[in-house]
Symmetry: C3
Subunit: 312 residues, 3 copies
């Protein structure tokens, strides 16, 4: 039985099945017949991811336990391990965890009888964001093989970048990176190109947020960051006709992207958020089924909405 920590643990076929299940949930609600509790343990601020999980949980019929670090015993020095064990003891059937530590999972694995969903691990992994990005790309191109994806921006601080780069490569996409010098991570085995090259070749341009709170130098609107490294209106005009823009949000308007482009025709930014709910429903119900908490046959009822085009 697997926790949902990284898409490295999922095969191409399993990833495609998650995408199909996500599309299925868009069409048809699935409400559990028994009472199960999902506990959301977020140790970093979040609007989108946390609320997306909550909507997904409620759409599955899960009861939600909402942990706020500020009002909790972590104020009294309690560790993540003890907090997680506490939620297990009081009846949580699943933990959804975001924590600033890259490797928090290592302290929990093997010590819990309930599954964990990784909702963000430090600078390392953000696999549910990755799955919703995959869903958004697949909706557009009905395949991953041969698609050019350029990940642009604050690579070094981005867990989104890392989760996406490896998984997209596994799915058959060509992955490129583009970043300002201080934002590069040289340990990643993907080629760096310039932003001007990026807009020319990308089928999918995946912008990242400058994580001001993790940087020592400020990248604000008064600098020429947008002009040098961001998606200006000028650069957008050089993009391929079919190319789309992604961004995990929150967006620094006029830093990573010109504010006028946030809702342009190429933008799938709010579509990504919408997809996030269904991607997370698929992840959570699949994991709960693998752990034996859901007995209903989730997928019996539906016809796959798309085929395995992206998988060789």
């Amino acid at each position: 039985m697997r926790h949902f920590i990284s898409l490295n643990d999922w095969t191409k076929r399993e990833i495609m099945e998650l995408l199909q299940l996500a599309e299925h949930y868009r069409e048809q609600a699935f409400i559990l017949s028994e009472q199960l509790f999902a506990a959301n343990l977020f140790f970093e601020p979040s609007t989108r991811t946390k609320m997306s999980f909550i909507v997904a949980q409620r759409k599955l019929g899960l009861d939600v336990l909402d942990f706020n670090e500020e009002f909790s015993s972590t104020k009294k020095g309690e560790s993540l391990y003890d907090t997680a064990k506490t939620f297990e003891a009081i009846g949580a059937n699943m933990l959804v965890i975001r924590h600033r530590d890259d490797c928090w999972i290592e302290k929990l694995e093997g010590n819990l009888s309930i599954p964990i969903i990784n909702a963000g691990a430090g600078k390392k992994e953000h696999p549910t964001q990755c799955l919703l990005d995959l869903l958004t790309i697949y909706q557009e191109f009905q395949k991953f093989k041969g698609i050019n994806v350029v990940i642009a921006g604050d690579i070094s601080h981005s867990r989104v970048a890392k989760s996406n780069a490896y998984t997209l490569q596994k799915m058959g996409a060509h992955v490129y990176l583009t970043a300002a010098e201080g934002c590069k991570d040289r340990s990643l085995p993907f080629p760096y190109i310039s932003m001007d090259e990026a807009v020319e070749i990308a089928d999918t341009l995946m912008l990242l947020r400058i994580q001001h709170e993790r940087h020592e130098v400020a990248y604000d609107q008064t600098t020429s960051y947008l002009d040098k490294y961001g998606l200006t209106k000028q650069r957008e005009k050089c993009m391929q006709p079919q190319a789309i823009i992604l961004h995990p949000a929150p967006i620094n308007r006029n830093v990573e992207i010109d504010t006028d482009l946030v809702e342009c025709n190429r933008s799938r930014i709010f579509k990504q958020m919408n997809n996030g709910v269904y991607a997370r429903m698929a992840i959570m119900s699949s994991v709960l089924k693998e752990w034996g908490s859901i007995h209903e046959t989730v997928d019996q009822k539906y016809q796959p909405p798309f085929t395995y085009g992206g998988v060789s």
Copy 2:
């Protein structure tokens, strides 16, 4: 299709229908048969209003998304607009928003496919508080026409004062104001009288909270604010036999009102809170119906509990 931003957008007849629907909900629960999500986006502290909305939402059978600014991406600089669009994208069917900005609605109107309920806009409008005040007054007098309402206290900082003054005048009431010099708003087209005059003529004395957090000078219990401008026991004795006391709360006991009067026979302060739940049920279900999210016929089932006495 209207957002619920100001009762200026509602006709007298429509306001009376909201009041009737509120009374109906007191008698008979209405639970939705489909899953809809209400997102509460409060950017200012609130107990009463927020909890009242949540109870109202749950009584309607709505699923509740509770946004806490402190734990959110507004910490990362996200705007109200992007936050609202995010909640729309992840599946909210309605937004309930309180924000310190007087005019936040302008940035959202026309850009969302879901209705917005104004739960407090800066110093300008607080229309759901207004409707619950109307409900409380109507329960007492079965009309608005000719009723003397005096709004007393921190007029200049009060969105409650403004929403109530204009709407009560529209409904046919006579509206007066009374305030300490620093608390007056001279732009309002209503006569100022003294507190001593107020207690003599009022059918409804609507006290307001001194908003310490918005004042530069302190109005505390050591000053003679209560004696000069508040409702003392002495003044209460001069009130008309039928006259009632309202206060939107939280109350500064012994500032706006002698603490012993908070639960006196004339006080409808906790009744107002109780009415708030039903008023908000009426508002939310009406708006959701106007926007096509509720298909059930809400009002088919009931006999109006009171007639249109207050409407000419």
Copy 3:
């Protein structure tokens, strides 16, 4: 009709009935057929107790109102009394309150038409923790009479110690205390023994958390607190074969207890948390029944899982 403030108000027979009902809920869910609201008003940080109450409430089918002091009108100076009256007015059917004041209950009693559950009163009482501790002890020994219970640690700051000592004595247990000099409360009518004596005689060793936030001197891992007063591995070896270890958590690992003992065979620490949910279900449903809010017959359906062995 009683609030649930202290187990001093409950007879031995009633306490046994609560324990039996708790065991019943472990086996069989009880979901209310009507909509009732439980409001959780926590004025001190809490993970375990608050989440345990929420799980218990949801398992009973109660709707939950979650009050966060930080976002509330207590920021505007609102008192506990006015906050409680507000929740009553907007439709709460029960209040669960934790507050730093020892005697907050006195201001509320007699002024509310709904029951109050004490979820922690200053340094004085924590009766729901007490009931879950009783449940854990009873599961082990099927009686209280003659059982040696040693309460160890920060007695002077512990509401858990006081609630437990008196109630366990009433149930027939022999109660001893052990504490460092600065942690003793000499007003309690129970004998103090040394930690070395404690491990030899205890059937139940009830460790308490050092409440750093209430102490002026620090008791940290660099001092020899563990060696002098805590449960070391050495001392654990001197315990009786049948003896168990309790701790209300959060635990200061390597202060009150060696970290390796937290999940040892004798430890019932996570079992306590699990028991807490069922104990609180029993308490809340019993109180709601006494107040006439629940009409269903809760206990008709089940066979008592254990007998009155501990009650003479």
